[in-house]
Each structure stands twice: as C-alpha cells, then as structure tokens.
Symmetry: C2
Subunit: 331 residues, 2 copies
Amino acid sequence: MLKMRKTTIKGVAAAAGVSVTTVSDALSGKGRLPDATREKVQAIANQLGYRPSAIARGLRGSGIGLVGICIAPAGGGGALTDVSYWAAIVTHASQAFLSDGHAAVLLPHDVGLLETLHIPLDGVIVVDPLERDPVLTFFEDRNIRCLTIGRDVSKTESIWVDDDTATGVRRLIEATISPGTKLAFLRVGPIKSYVTDAISGARSWAADGGGTLSIHQCAGLESEHVAHTVREAVHEGATAILTQNDRLALRVRDVLQAMGRDVPGDVRLLSAADAMELGQGPVGISAARPHPARLAEMAAAKLLDMIRGQPDVASTMSPMEVSIRESAPLL
Amino acid sequence: MLKMRKTTIKGVAAAAGVSVTTVSDALSGKGRLPDATREKVQAIANQLGYRPSAIARGLRGSGIGLVGICIAPAGGGGALTDVSYWAAIVTHASQAFLSDGHAAVLLPHDVGLLETLHIPLDGVIVVDPLERDPVLTFFEDRNIRCLTIGRDVSKTESIWVDDDTATGVRRLIEATISPGTKLAFLRVGPIKSYVTDAISGARSWAADGGGTLSIHQCAGLESEHVAHTVREAVHEGATAILTQNDRLALRVRDVLQAMGRDVPGDVRLLSAADAMELGQGPVGISAARPHPARLAEMAAAKLLDMIRGQPDVASTMSPMEVSIRESAPLL
DNA sequence: TTGAAAGCGCTAACAG
DNA sequence: CTGTTAGCGCTTTCAA
C-alpha cells in the first residue's frame, strides 16, 4: 500500500477546479455559496477522503480544544477507593468537556514531565492540589487557565470547587459523638485541603464545647503504623476516632478489632471521606460524603466558562451529606 | 492586568536583535551558534516568558504528541469492577506514553462525538472493541494508527494485545470441574473478544470429553434477570456455572444463595474474569485473572513503535493465571 | 556565523 | 458569487 501524502485543502480545490476559499467555505458552511457548488465540493472532498488539519486550524488562533486533567497522587500508594473517586472525576469531567467539543488530556502531576510535553491546552483542572503545589505555578507561569478540585490552601487568588468538608465533618461529629468526648483525628500522607477542612470542622466542634480534640499523624497506611497511632490515641483516652479518609478508617477498624476494642461500644469510628467500601464489612463506618461526580461537572463547566472568557467565574463549596452507619450511630 | 499578546519567536528575535532563525536555533540546540549568542537569546526568551507554540511546531509535520485512549462501554452500566480494570489500563498506558513524551487523550467510544472532535492524534488504543466496531472503522478511515486491547473478532488485519482467555478459562475449568459435569456459561451485554474466547475455551473443554456445555444469555445484570437465567440453567441440570465476568458472578452467587443452593456443594461457580471483589464475601469465587496493567503497557509500547514507523509490530496473547477460591476448589 | 525567505494547511479580509 | 492574498508561529533550506 502506497503511503501517499495526505490530501490538503489545496488538493481538493484543484480537483474541484475552484479556489481554496471556496472549499473552505463549502465545507464549513460559511459564506453563502450556491448549493450546487457546495455539494460538488463536498462530494469531491469526501471522495478524496479529505480531513481538514486540526493543527493548521488551531494555528489561526483559538487553540485546538484540549483541556488537561491533572491528578495529584493519593496519600499512601493509592489503590482501592482513590480509584473510584478518581475515576468518577475523570469520567464526569471528560464527559462534560466532550459535550462542549473539548477533549481531556491526562496530565502527570509532575512539573518535570509536564515540561517535556508541549501540548496546547485551553485550560486545566488540577485535582486535589497539594499545599504550594508547583504544578499550579507551572500552569500559572504559562498563562494556562486553571481551576482546582480541592484547593491549594496557600493560594488565595485561585478558582476552585470543593466539598464543604469542614461543615460536613462538624455535622457528622455532632450527630454521632456525645459532648465531652475525647476525639482523636488521624492524618496520613500529604496535606490536601480536605484534610485541613476536616480538622477545622473538628476544631470548631471542640471549640464550641463539644469535646476535646487531639491530632495524630500516621506514618503510613501499613498496619503497624496505623496500629501504633491508634494505640497512642486510645492510650490518651480517646473514645472516638475520626480518620482523614476511608482507607485509613478501614485499617483503624481492623486494628481496633485486633486490639479487642468494640466498635462502637468502646470506641466510635468516623471517616471524613465516605466510600462504598465503608458500608461493607462487619461494622459499617459513618462518614461524610464527598461528591466527585458533581464536583467534576461543576469544575468542567466553570473551566469552560473561563475558556470562553466569561469574567465572573467564582469558586464554589458543595454541601456534604453524611452516611450514618454502625461504627457511630446517631446519638 | 493587561491581556497582552503572547510573545512569539518574532518578539524574542526583535528583543534580542537577531533573526528568528537564530532564536529557533539557539533554543532548539541546532546549528552551531557561538555560546555567547545562544545564552543571550535564551536569557531574553526566558525573561520574556517565551513558550514556543506546540501547534505551530506541529504544523510542519510530525504531529503534536497526542495519543488517544478509547474505552468501549462495559456491559451493564459499568460501576464496581469495570472501574478498576479501566483505571489500571488508563493509568498504565498513560504513564507509558508520558515517558515517551506523548500525552493521552480520553476519547469517547462514539463516532458521533469523535467526529466533532478534530484532534490531531498520532495513534489510538481502543479498549475492548465490540464486534465490527464502528470506532475502529472511524480511525482506519482517517489513517490513524490503531491498536486494540481485546480484539474486534471480525477484523483480521488489526493489531491487538489480549489476555489468552480461551486457554485461561479452559485451565480454570479443568482444575475445578470434574469430567462429565453439566456446565452452563452465562453471558450478558455486548459481544467482546474475551467472551468469545471464554466460550471457546469452555467449548474445547467440552469437546475433548470434559463435559457438556450450554450457553445462556442474561437480559441484564439486574437480580431478576440473573435469577431467571440461573434458574433456567439449574433446571436443565447444570451443576457448574461459568460467568462471563466478575459482576455477573457476584450476582449469581447471591441468587444461588437465595435459591437455597449451596456453593460449591450443589453448584460450582466460576468467573472468566477475576477481580478483587471475587476474593471477598462469604464464598470466594474462582476465576481466570486478566492483566489490565500489563496489557496496557504492552499496548502503549507497541503503539509507540507503530508511530515511530517500526514495521514489524505484531499482536500478542498474554497468558493468564487462575485464582482458585471456595466457589470451585481444586479437584 | 547569521539572515532572508519559503513554506506547513487553513481561514479571513479584501478584491474582483 | 468566487478568487487572491496575507498571515497564524515555527522550522528549514539556501544565501550572504
């Protein structure tokens, strides 16, 4: 099979015996040509298998219809539930972009790699940015419109979409933890906005006389680290544990069981981020419910607005519901 | 803040008092300019925040470094396990592309949408193509290099990477189902190559005197449909059921339990596609193990070879292991 | 060692 | 109604 040069607009023009303008107009529906000409040109273009070059078209100005999705790595070697969160965001955002004629490019959360990429992006969504995230600076530097799901707490000027984790967590605690309780918050991995928010939710509960709060950092998601931290918390008298996320909650549940502590009898267990898995197993775990799909759709819509040059795009907090389960039933 | 026009190579040239050629050479390392000139130009470019336009660069020929990933929709409103399969493929393929300077674009499995997209693709991976998949024709028509994970069984000329489901399933059956057994295969959803393969694996087992095989089509994944089909199979005397995939297997397990049939006592249960979830729950389900991550890496590597113009890219079958669990223990 | 100029494929002014 | 022409930003001969 011969590798012939792709047919260009010039080829079509020649074959049809018209000018390139006529071809361009005929195919794009601009300029009112007589239907006869238009159809003739279309027929010939079709027959020649002509496909306008997206690159050449993009060169004239407006970009090429590409939007990036850049996902920060999860806390502890993401598997399980990060995947479904992540997948929900990617599919929903991507779908929203598609229905606007844009396509989503998967971007690495790594400036080194990003620098090698040279892709003409109309905008980017960064998911769960870290504190002072260099990736955000990267996009800022090249004037690429950027919107985050979750926030870089160090940036004030940025536009974002986020779950209202502070309020969600506070409500979750109020509904399930009796006043005066010693509550331990368990963190793990890099600082993301939802963690900060969860902590401030818990803090506000404590500050308003709900109880006392202590914060514990887990070295990792491995059982031994989790066990160590849980022991520490329990030893200090905590009778309720709030974990940063679902995976940590599952580990804590296992650890408590192994320690012979009853959930919720001896210790109540909560998670700041829900996931299907929390509903399964011996003792379902109460949690605040993030809405990745909704966030993704909002983020995509807003980013598209920004791309269209809309001036008044604002950040949005999305309210959370809570899932009450056996690990911390209603008071 | 002023919205100034982006600095182009011309701007840099003017600012540096040299020609555009010099700028181009200085930045791309071509043509042996004196280091003095080069550094000076680079400094100025840097200071002006100059970023060469990927589009303009691509216009000269070679494309822009984009590769598509196009995933066919799963059987019954994909959730659960499709997600992890899908995610493994997307992340691993995308990573492989990145390390070669390419970026992955998420493409819809829908020619209508694809037509609106106009993205300059160097190649595409289509995941789990359907029979006579129009999407494949679409890419073929525009001379876009295409490679599939799973195969379109109707296409002979195409290049693919696939699990060797036929052999895997046959081994799974041989290891767990005693000769002479009536085995029922349960299908659901669109025809994909792994289904065809699973069936031919089972057929070859039956043909070689292993037992008898009947094939049943489920109308959907809803409990009532599954229950209906299972009842049908059991009524015909089947004492072993092999399902097309994990989700169907989970449903069948529930249905059998609801019918008061013991697994594996009354009926042995197998799945042609493994997933983490099959290892959980009251009775773990034996299954053949697909390797999405490995397939994705192989697919990406091969596609990149094709893009580089390598002539001898061939299809590959990847061997499967099996997971033996309680639903069908070793004979 | 450097610069001028010719495109790459397409669209949008501007003439005819 | 249709054709000519001038770019879009860059790379790449080919001269100077």
